[in-house]
């Protein structure tokens, strides 16, 4: 569709969001991501039946963990859309980037080797 979305969104492709584990989300935060979001199929339309439902639960778990650590849970989010919704994809990207800009950079400092 050649719609643009912010360049500071790094995309990792998966066959299904059900493939995501809690550790993947935490690793992103640990390694300095200001925000992480999961874009899965609309609920009820998962090709692998419940993958997106499970992904949502994992996102909820990570949000809870971040809250316990005093980090804004809004830095991690779950979105649902169909693969036909190109415009929605770009919209979500912009929405998330705006949100993170408002929250500011991640409080998780990356420790440099120096």
């Amino acid at each position: 569709m050649r719609l643009s979305y912010p360049s500071n969104v790094k995309i990792i492709q998966l066959p299904c969001t059900g493939r995501i584990d809690i550790i993947h989300l935490l690793n992103a935060v640990e390694n300095g991501a200001d925000g992480v979001y999961v874009a899965g199929c609309l609920e009820g339309e998962c090709h692998f039946i419940q993958g997106n439902i499970k992904a949502r639960k994992k996102v909820e778990y990570v949000k809870k963990t971040l809250t316990e650590l005093g980090i804004e849970p809004e830095r991690v989010e779950m979105f649902n859309l169909s693969s036909a919704q190109g415009a929605r994809f770009a919209e979500i990207a912009r929405e998330m980037v705006d949100r993170i800009r408002q929250l500011g950079p991640t409080p998780v400092k990356k420790v440099d080797a120096a």
Binding site: I22, K57, E60, Y61
Partner: protein, 225 residues
Amino acid sequence: MIVADRKPIQEILAMIKADKKILILGCKGCVTVCNVGGVKESEILASTLKIARKQQGNDIDIDVRVLERQCDNEYVAQIKDIVNDYESVVSLACGVGPQFLSEMYRGKKFYPGVNTTFFGGAVQHGIWEERCAGCGTCSIHDFGGFCPIARCAKSLLHGPCGGSSKGICEVNPDTICVWDAIVTKKMEAGEIEDLMGVKGFKDWRTSRDGGPRRSIREELIQGNI
């Protein structure tokens, strides 16, 4: 893990005295590790009961099956096609097993073949000792890595009492005085101060005293509870 002891044979015989065909159901979990309810022990029990009944001139037909675990409905369901072939079932799993079985197969009789005792570990092959009381608020790090709730006969938080003699508990000569161990460790490390002061009064609500407990992993539940 959970440790259990086999019930006395006479007690088990009394449970099944009216039955002619039973199933002994072992478990590959904790009771296998403490050698009381695994494959071997299930077979041994079956043979022992058959011998006893033959002696009485009242033969009994006993089958043996062993499940991966009896604390998971997925495995408990594996006997659904055969459970009705038996008048009763003797489970050698810890107390959880016969209860899960009773809940799934409402019309059947399940007998506990073992007395479940404690959470512990093998201090040497063949000997298991209690280490944990499941109090729900673990603070062994406050006591040099020892648990006074489980290992002190009086669950003291400021021990030892005056009955500790040569590092042995006055209640049982086979039991070390855990407070002697805690204090000795702290004295050797020059950390006596850690044992001074009055520790907070224990909140027993997280223990069995607060009522039967439940543990939930929200992220793994499918659907609603």
